[in-house]
């Protein structure tokens, strides 16, 4: 191959900055974003506490001990005990399992259906896209709470109805987000270029669309995770989800209602746990979006 083409443009060979340094800087940007750091920190803490609680909690979260009912915080019971003498701290820890389980599984359901459907609706104009969009319209009529009430009425309250309800309610959100972002990529010139060298729709989705919308989807997942935890707490509170005596933040809130006058701390602990956990996931999602925006602008 001759390179005698351009005698007067040697400086085009110059490449900016150093490789390893650029990679480092990319990683550094993640660690400098306060939303990602704080959000990620809280999420890590919640996940850690959920994992630890599988093997160990200070007390059995279900062990009733009437002698120590409604005890104030002490060295023995860091956050006190509830009306049955169960250790609040242990119950909070055990509850994080449920929160993460419901959050993860419902987001998984929503993404497992919503993302492929969104990609399909973006890639195939016409009938298929119309069907997907009409189904989306219908599902938009059922926010998580309403869906949960209907499912609980039909099948009885359980952790799984909550998971199913939240999962279904978020399907249309993922369909819309996936579809609109995928359409942007599909209409880009680099996809046109790929089609010009013979890439078919499926390869284009895999090689171009998915990598380019991944960050947006992950940010959305984190955001919806936080909303799932909110919904789960509300549903458990209403008695439509996890059933007593299993510990969950929502059921803890529900039972604390009778002691608002005497033991407000029983309300405070699960409240703080919910707020922190929701904040963690939504901050993380926000941070990821911010970084994506920043990269797009640069």
């Amino acid at each position: 191959m001759s390179s005698a083409v351009l005698p007067n443009a040697p400086a085009a060979r110059e490449v900016p900055a150093d490789e390893a340094f650029a990679d480092l800087e990319r990683r550094g940007r993640w660690l400098r974003n306060p939303s990602v750091v704080i959000g990620g920190g809280i999420v890590a803490l919640v996940v850690l506490s959920a994992i630890v609680s599988i093997f160990w909690t200070p007390y059995d979260p279900l062990a009733v001990n009437p002698a120590h009912a409604l005890a104030a915080p002490s060295w023995a019971h860091w956050l006190g005990t509830d009306e049955y003498g169960r250790d609040e701290f242990s119950r909070l820890m055990a509850s994080s399992q449920i929160a993460l389980f419901v959050g993860a599984l419902s987001v998984l359901i929503a993404t497992a259906i919503g993302i492929p459907a969104g990609l399909l609706a973006a890639a195939r104009e016409g009938a298929i896209s119309q069907v997907v969009l009409r189904v989306t319209d219908i599902l938009y009529g059922f926010p998580a709470l309403l869906a949960a009430v209907v499912l609980a009425a039909a099948f009885g309250a359980s952790k799984m109805t909550v998971v199913l309800a939240i999962g279904i309610a978020y399907i249309p959100v993922f369909i819309r987000v996936t579809r609109s972002n995928a359409l942007v990529v599909l209409n880009s010139e680099y996809v046109l270029a790929a089609r010009a060298y013979g890439r078919r729709t499926f390869s284009i989705l895999r090689r171009h669309v998915v990598p380019n919308i991944a960050t947006t989807i992950i940010a959305q997942m984190s955001l919806l995770f936080s909303l799932a935890i909110l919904a789960e707490a509300a549903l458990d509170f209403l008695g439509l989800g996890t059933v007593a005596p299993t510990a969950s933040w929502g059921t803890m809130l529900a039972s604390s209602q009778d002691y608002l006058g005497s033991d407000a701390l029983l309300t405070l602990w699960p409240s703080l746990a919910i707020v922190a956990c929701v904040l963690g996931f939504s901050l993380l999602g926000d941070g990821i979006s911010e970084l994506r925006e920043a990269r797009r602008r640069s």
Binding site: A9, P16, R200
Partner: protein
Amino acid sequence: MSVIPTFEVDSVTKVYQSRGRRGHAVDALRDISFTVAPGQSLGVVGESGSGKSTLSRLLLALEKPTSGSIRHRGEVISGRRERDLQDFRRRVQIVFQDPMSSLDPRMRVYDLLAEPLRALHIEVDEGERVRELLDSVEMPAAAARRFAYQFSGGQRQRIAIARALGPSPEVLIADEPVSALDVSVRAQILNLLTGLVQDFNLTMVFVSHDMAVVRHLCDSVVVLYRGRLVEMGATEEVFEHPREDYTRELLAAAPRLRAQRGLTSSS
């Protein structure tokens, strides 16, 4: 010996059923016919709304004409199934206007250049070929490890050109390849294209709104206006003796360097 034309465009019309605000059909192209001979450099000139970008998509068989046909080496390419177009895709490649949006931001340059080779099942030593391609557009081999956004506009367009050269095409379709570039790098890229066309004996379809650039690069020219072909011919002929008013207007409108201020009022 009779030469089989690279492209025969035969009364091609393209109508878009627009879902846009007026909701009626938009004529992108109306009854266009011309041929491109092997080794020719054809300039397609027009302003926005002339249908020139539609034409480049039709030539790439990315879209189907509403009526009429396009042949490549005597074979109809319009409306063919993708799997029957493999050979065609190897032979015809494209360079777009904006090198930022035509290069996937999530891919490293290596993958950007290797993708066409993989997609078209071209049996080569991938790494070797990528180095070769980078060299042919005057880029260092180290560029392969980076992302497109880490380069300047001119360098990105070099990468896009290298990608188009990957399958060793016979035809290069260039859709406004220099209009997004800074004035001082435009000449570099034009020189690069000129050299490549000569070195690889490429047939080129050069789509542009810039008459000066077309005059520099193309031996023949087609003028489009609102989806219609208003004039075609050898570049010298069209530029020196334009027959159509619209062509004259286009030529007169191009800004010219003057030592003293003064706009010619286009009569």
